[in-house]
């Protein structure tokens, strides 16, 4: 079954590097090189992470010290609070997790890992980023237009989101929907390339099961995205019509139904969780394999499990709507499917832990991030069971328990996963080695405060604290001194964590200025990206060096070999 993959791109004029496109800044704007596009996505995403993080800082300050003049922002009114929460959530998911994990690393890694010189459709790829860039401007603009940014939560439930007399943000809410819609279009365009490049551009000799897991996972994530987003795009257009033309798709007074939006939103929204989870899971397993010098325990189990999870994830959406007025009998069905999905996810966690068994583990900075991902994501996973059981969700729905739960999934994904990937592929992306000591300080000063922010929020949620409230002093039970102390504690932990990010920026700056040059394969890993220069040239390999594949990516510590790694492109005869 060795079908030497047909390579659409190998023949075309990537081979001569001289004549390429416009020069200077224009080159960046119009570049079709997947690595440049990856960087564009990454830096836009990281900038948006700063915006989202700043919003978290502002509203956490308001919660800990109600009415305070927040340094750098000012007083937070009730309306501003709602807008901050809404856009924090929107930005963190659609402008941080998606662009960084899926688009940036997908773009950077897929061609390099399958041994292609670029994506199959480089111009569609560029268009994808350009649309994304416009969407970024739209969402940022929506924050400053008259009336303020959209403030109806990232889930945008109508009628609140559909009618300006209810939400009081006529421009903000429409721009919000347009921004999110454009973002979807960008990722639809990007996804086309991910899938086709994996299918068509693999290096000669690379069979389906020789592809690194992270590539599989990013591609499965793209497919999930493409399958789930259609209904929501339709919903988004109906929502814009309701907002601007006065139609009544979601308005019960004119025969519409507000719950319809919830179904469309979560039919997309739950698979979306896996869309961002899978790339992070993929990154983590690559790193764990490399730094424990072990073959992944059950490569095929992982792929089948991931596909099973993806399929199941289309049948759980209504667990977000148990108490939203759906037929109560439906809750029973969705309780079953939701708890069933714990089986493949638990299985993935077991595989990751089992991969460590018998390894020779090196605790480098990327490995620390990868291990922390597993440890923390487990907390997010097990707390999800409370919410999947409809009976318990009656109490927990829309409390800080839910909030802490999904931050224990999203933070490991978007922040821990990103740092893992960034520190691991930094030598390849920028050609320099980062400082390990600073890296470890940054790691510990992020991980410890992260837990100190969100564990207290679980407690508040169990105490009945509901979400999206700017000030709890009017609620006799929630205004207790003990609860206020917990809020202050969480906010101070956040300040520590945010401050620790400067270590990271300093480390990047220092490495850029004076870091040691990275060799081709600093971690002694097997996959193809490590066989080219750091950073790879335009076209990824010099034309006479295009890789040929002889084995899977995880042949670590193979008995009877001198080296404890075995690059995918090393011809077998050199070894005896």
């Amino acid at each position: 079954m060795v079908e030497p993959a047909v390579d659409l791109t190998h023949g075309h004029p990537h081979d001569d590097h001289a004549h390429h496109g416009p020069e200077g800044w224009k080159k960046y704007l119009w570049s079709t090189d997947h690595k440049v596009i990856a960087m564009q996505y990454m830096f836009t995403g990281m900038f948006m992470a700063l915006v989202g993080g700043f919003m978290a800082y502002v509203f956490r300050m308001q919660l800990a010290f109600p009415g305070i003049n927040v340094p750098g922002f000012g007083m937070v009114s009730m309306g501003e609070y709602n807008a901050l929460v809404t856009n924090h959530g929107t930005i963190m998911i659609f402008w941080v997790a998606m662009p960084v994990l899926l688009a940036a690393f997908g773009n950077f890694l897929i061609p390099l890992m399958v041994g292609a010189d670029d994506m199959v459709f480089p111009k569609i790829n560029r268009l994808s980023f350009q649309v994304f860039f416009v969407s970024t401007i739209v969402i940022l603009a929506s924050l400053v237009v008259e009336g303020g940014g959209f403030a109806g939560a990232w889930t945008a439930y109508p009628p609140l989101s559909a009618n300006e007399t209810y939400n009081l943000t006529p421009l903000g809410s429409t721009l919000w929907v347009i921004g999110v819609g454009l973002e979807f279009v960008a990722f639809l365009l990007g996804g086309i390339n991910f899938i086709t490049t994996l299918m068509n551009s693999r290096a000669p000799g690379m069979r389906a099961f020789d592809v690194p897991l992270v590539v599989w996972m990013i591609v499965v994530a793209s497919i999930l995205f493409m399958l789930s987003v259609g209904p929501l795009l339709a919903g988004a257009i109906m929502l814009i019509f309701d907002q601007t033309l006065g139609t009544g798709f979601f308005n019960p007074a004119t025969g519409g139904d507000p719950i319809l939006w919830q179904h469309l939103f979560w039919f997309f929204g739950h698979p979306e969780v896996y869309v961002v989870l899978l790339p992070a899971m993929g990154v983590v397993i690559e790193i764990i394999a490399t730094f424990s010098r072990k073959k992944v325990f059950g490569y095929r189990i992982v792929i089948f499990t991931v596909v099973a999870t993806g399929v199941l994830s289309f049948f759980v959406w209504a667990h977000h709507q148990f108490i939203a007025g759906i037929d109560p009998r439906m809750a029973n069905i969705f309780t079953i499917t939701t708890l069933l999905i714990s089986v493949p996810i638990a299985e993935l966690c077991f595989v990751y832990i089992a991969t460590l068994y018998g390894g020779s583990i090196r605790l480098t900075t990327p490995m620390l991030w990868a291990l922390a991902f597993v440890a923390e994501f487990l907390i997010g996973g097990v707390t999800g069971i409370f919410l999947g059981a409809a009976g318990a969700d009656i109490y927990f729905h829309d409390t800080y328990f839910v909030l802490a739960h999904f931050h224990y999934t999203f933070f490991p994904i978007a922040i821990i996963g990103t740092y893992a990937a960034f520190t691991y592929w930094f030598p390849k992306m920028f050609g320099k080695m980062m400082d390990e000591r600073l890296g470890k300080w940054h790691f510990w000063l992020t991980i410890i405060p992260f837990n100190m922010i969100f564990i207290p929020l679980f407690v508040l949620g169990m105490g009945g604290q509901h979400r999206r409230i700017s000030n709890y002093s009017g609620f006799s039970e929630l205004a207790r001194d003990g609860f206020q102390d917990i809020r202050v504690f969480a906010t101070i932990s956040l300040l520590i964590m945010l401050a620790a990010q400067f270590i990271f920026f300093y480390n990047c700056y220092k490495t850029w200025r004076s870091g040691p040059k990275a060799p081709r394969n600093p971690w002694k890993a097997n996959s193809l990206e490590w066989t080219t220069e750091s950073p790879p040239p335009h076209g990824n390999w010099h034309p006479d060096e295009m890789p040929v594949v002889y084995r899977g990516p995880y042949e670590f510590s193979v008995p009877d070999r001198i080296d404890d790694y075995w690059p995918q492109n090393e011809p077998p005869q050199r070894d005896s």
Binding site: G298, A375, I385
Partner: protein
Amino acid sequence: MGFFESWGHFFDRIGLIRIGSTYAADIDFLIFLVLVVVGVWFLAAELIFVYFIMKFREKGDGRRADYIDGKNKRHKRWITYPHLAVLVFDVLIIVVSFNVWHRVKMDLPENPDCVIRVTGQQWAWIIQHCGADGELDTADDIYTVDELHVENEKLYHFRLEATDVLHSFSVPVWRIKQDAIPGRSITGWFQPTVTGQFDLQCAEICGFGHTVMQGQVFVESAEEHAAWVEANTPVEAPAPATDNTPSSG
């Protein structure tokens, strides 16, 4: 149910939140059950994880990693057995969750002592109490804003409605939560067990004033409640209007 109830009082015991209705302990028992089941799994997984990291850490003694591909049946068992066990525990949780869900949301106990109407609107709860006759939509109904007065131990049905956007009727001590949807009337029930004054929240974002959509429930003894009803029953009892909101204490 005695055994269950004792474990259902977990939150109450650690002082986080009281148990204030007949089904609150059922919900808390379910939560406690999940806590125990997933807690054991969670601790085991994290312990094994940390143990592996420490045990298999490279120690500079030149030991190489093992070559295990996970295809071997003996090795696969390490994955299949735990995940079968996960499945068994899932079934346990599903069964208990069904019971609780049915009791709270599906089996409406008959013959309520009183029926109330709760209407969410930006940004207040309008409550229509049944009044002395226990019936809704009669001349003696009592209207209040952000205040729900009930008699302890009595069975209540509610009709939950909304006039503008979504709201969510939530009383944490009763463990009750239900979204209110414009254009629909959703029926549910509760039966308070503890007297006192508790928070009534809106748990679904409803716009600018969502934060200040805060109400109180007053669970009163029979005499107190009778006095409150007496004092607030509309004198003439014409068709009551919403702005007819007596202050009460």
